[in-house]
Amino acid sequence: MQNKIEIKNLNFFYNEKQVIRNFNLNIPANKILSVFGPAGSGVTTLLRSLNRLCDLSPEARSEGEILLDGKDIRSPDINVTELRRRVGIVFDVPTPLPMSIFDNIAYGPRLKRKKKDGKISETVELALRQAALWDEVKDRLTVPAMSLSGGQQQRLCVARVLALKPEVILLDRPCSGLDPISTAKIEDSLTELKKQFTIIISPHNTQQAGRISDRVAFMLMGELIEESTNVEVFKNPKDQRTSDYITGRFG
């Protein structure tokens, strides 16, 4: 099993507050990894440090290594905009930009370089198909993305990331505001997508983690408590805290 990402001794601070502690984790390629834990465990920070979106906060500071294909993404010679294309992120609430459906998906590809519009429309169609949204929007690509329903908007955000042709997809509680049907659609497309991408998801509950993940990591107070296969963590948790959390004793 090949590792796409290796995190070594990661410590992360906002000002003086430490949100991630001595974190070590190997993330295998072409698998779905669920990272979960109660609110404030540092899951969002972890995901956001994988494409250095955390850099946008001036008070953020980190130590350690995050290797993507063996190269540290925190080293000074890394091109951050290029890194963010390789490691795309879907946020916890749908975040369509105030423009048409087509322009939303084409936003990333157009930033890269001027392509002929014919080529871009192929990219847009493929991304929308992969995110299982194409059939619902193919006749109204020019309407504002804000007019879609919440579930459609979130699949639009997935498609927007796919249009970047990334290697890794981060999803930060992508279904937290969605109904069960929209959630199922997103989960279905993720299972399909892991053939091509490495997927790291922060599920909105443990059931979702159980349904879709290959591997599961449990975080608490910024520390990794345990990481193993899906079955292993849910059936035979090694740590008492993990078992307390998944059986609902706290959380």
């Binding site: 494409n51 423009m99 930033l111 890269k112 504002p144």
Partner: protein, 272 residues
Amino acid sequence: MKRRIKPQTAEKIAKGAIWTIALMVIGILIAIIVYILYKGLPVINWSFLTEAPRRMGKEGGISSSIIITLSVTALAVLIAMPFGIGTAFYLAEYTRDNIITRIIRFSAESLAGIPSIVYGLFGYIFFLEILGLGWSVLSGGLTLAIMILPTIIRTSEEAILAVSKTYREVSFSLGGTKWQTIRKAVFPSAVRGITNGIILSVGRSVAETAAVILTVGSDLKMRTMAIHFYQLVMEGISMENAYGTAAILIILIFFINVVANMLIDRFIAKGR
């Protein structure tokens, strides 16, 4: 504690009071506009628009004043716009709160509150006396540009800061650089607020008298509409032509407002 007024009654009183205030204000504004148009429109005809003024403005039209007004205003806005919007983006996007931004903000605020005649005096001394530009559209345009700069900076900065932080984050997360993010995600959402500031500035430039009289002058063939209007009234030359001029001023500002908003809807803010 015992309530003295029932909540429903309080609600009705509040609603009634707010409605009364709003209707009064709107009523007064509309009354002024209607009165000026009522007095001014009968004077306006083709020759009033196309002929130069004669006999101190008692006869003839105001064609020269219209042209001077438009050129002074256009010059002022074209100069102030890039500097103002640029400064606003610098303040909102490129710096954190520090001593330099505080100085810029404080200056802009103070400058916005200075009476326009002080700008006129500055323009007179600097552009006419020191640079020797003479009474001219150029002197007036430059002076007005300085006068409206603070307004453009403040309104643009507010419009930029009002753009959702999410849009910036999304743009960065899709591999956008800072400049791409500003250009493609922030600017289109801020453009309406920025335009409002510019329209406000256009209005101030078109209506300005004190700063313009000291820099463009008040020669009959070389004065803006506002100054023409001022002279017609103050010298008791022709109230009718004064109202005609005022009516055209109002129509002009209205027209600029509508056209600017149409252009934005059509080209920049589509889908927003």
